[in-house]
């Protein structure tokens, strides 16, 4: 019960009762169906992130740059997972983002590297898990991701991806400075909004795994 109070905070009585019911329902499920619920919630959170990408709400952009929701998601996922799980999440979300913009240059590399680096960081135990460090990781990873995109644009300009129109090298790196900084600041500020509920959910799922089902 104590755990559940952490999840929902000091909300109203009715909210607490709803939370109780959900928790009771999750406990009553078999481990397999609980897995399905877990994956459904995870997938839903990815879809929400994808749908938030084209949206520009007032106050949500800096220099015309929105927060990078997919990057935040990949960091939140990879912080407590293995190297390969992080890489796989990066590839999957990268492919999805390619579908929503353009496939060339691809987002797969940048998000995959973000997933792998984040998973690696946690093993060294230099960074404790809390909001500030997650925000810092997101900040650094946004710079890494934008740099990888800029490198791809530069390579494209040298004709490595075949024909196609690419901006000039100078323009790419000028734009990179602007976009990397704006994206890093905004994404790290918005990171807790996504990280907090997702992390709580996965923690709850993990703790339910430990309890043998009746």
């Amino acid at each position: 019960m104590g755990h559940y109070h952490d999840v929902f905070g000091r909300g109203g009585e009715s909210l607490r009762r709803v939370g109780d019911d959900i928790l009771k329902w999750l406990r009553s499920l078999s481990p397999n169906s609980r897995q399905i619920v877990n994956w459904a919630v995870t997938t839903l959170s990815v879809v929400m992130c994808l749908l938030a990408l084209p949206l520009r709400l007032p106050g949500m952009e800096l220099l015309g740059v929105p927060p990078d929701w997919l990057l935040i998601w990949v960091v939140a996922w990879s912080v407590k997972r293995s190297f390969w799980q992080g890489a796989l999440a990066g590839i999957i979300l990268g492919l999805a983002q390619d579908g929503m913009t353009m496939a060339q240059p691809t987002h797969v590399w940048s998000l995959m590297v973000v997933g792998m680096l984040t998973a690696r960081l946690q093993k060294q135990r230099f960074i404790q898990e809390d909001f500030i460090s997650v925000a810092l990781i997101v900040f650094a990873m946004a710079v890494v991701a934008e740099t990888l995109m800029a490198i791809q644009f530069s390579l494209g300009g040298w004709g490595l991806f075949g024909s196609g129109i690419y901006p000039a090298l100078v323009e790419v790196w000028q734009y990179h400075q602007q976009v990397a900084l704006a994206s890093a600041i905004l994404s790290s500020l918005w990171a807790p909004v996504l990280y907090y509920p997702l992390n709580r959910w996965w923690e709850l799922m993990n703790s339910l795994e430990q309890i043998p089902s009746r």
Binding site: T43, L53, P54, G64, L88, L95, Q97, M100, I165, Y166
Partner: protein, 238 residues
């Protein structure tokens, strides 16, 4: 592991279908946020005025040119579909918009999109109810352009924002700040004579060819409604 493969296949499907399902879902979810029809009327009337002014200069110059040349091909006019802008690019590196009209309304890939005052881009992907537009302000988007006053030719590249750069083919082009720029007859993607913007400054020293900075006529950063012309095909090749 099985779930991982499943997720990978799902993501691959999104990529191959160009996120069509997501685009449709996004449109449906943002329906209450989309601008209403009354606002659109006022914006359009305002826009038509400035667009007509620029067109007048363009047509005037074109007319003189044609009287001289006498090999004018009939300008095509197409049906315009008014579409609300429901989203911007899903990434920071591309200048794109998502509009809430699609294949069911007759929009095809390559349809020309114009906004309040001039062209804004062309359609690069359509789903039944949405289309994605690559803006002319995107650095990867090139448009053949001509200066309406002196008929100097060149091409224009976007510079992510409301400005673009026009490169000329000649060493000493007859251009001055304030000149109106329109799509050229050599453009492969756009029909000739559509207004693009105005020259702000010119750098004659630029190598290999002089460059001019152009202020786009359409406010690409603040688009709410656009007009999509479907029957206009790319300009006739000479």
């Amino acid at each position: 592991m099985g779930l991982g493969v499943l997720a990978l296949v799902g993501a691959w499907t999104i990529r191959q279908t160009q996120g069509a399902t997501l685009a449709e879902l996004y449109r449906w979810l943002t329906l209450p946020l989309q601008p209403q029809a009354e606002q659109q009327q006022a914006i359009l009337e305002n826009a038509q005025l400035s667009e007509l002014q620029q067109r007048l200069i363009e047509l005037d110059a074109q007319n003189q040119e044609l009287q001289r040349l006498l090999n004018y091909t009939q300008a095509q006019t197409g049906e315009g579909i008014v579409a609300p802008v429901i989203g911007r690019s899903a990434d920071r590196w591309w200048e794109q918009i998502v509009v809430g009209r699609g294949r069911e309304h007759g929009i095809r890939i390559g349809s020309v999109v114009s906004g309040t005052g001039g062209i804004v881009g062309r359609v690069i992907q359509v789903t039944p109810n949405t289309s994605r537009v690559l803006l002319v302000s995107d650095p990867t988007s090139q448009v053949g352009a001509t200066v309406s006053r002196s008929r100097v030719m060149g091409f224009m590249r976007g510079r992510s924002g409301s400005q673009a750069v026009m490169e000329f083919f000649e060493k000493d082009p007859n251009v001055q700040p304030g000149d109106v720029v329109a799509t050229s007859p050599y453009s492969q993607l756009f029909p000739p004579g559509l207004p693009i913007g105005r020259v702000v400054s010119i750098d004659f020293e630029k190598s290999p060819a002089p460059e001019a900075v152009i202020e786009l006529a359409a406010p690409v950063d603040y688009l709410e409604w656009v007009t999509i012309t479907t029957s206009l095909e790319g300009g006739a090749n000479p």
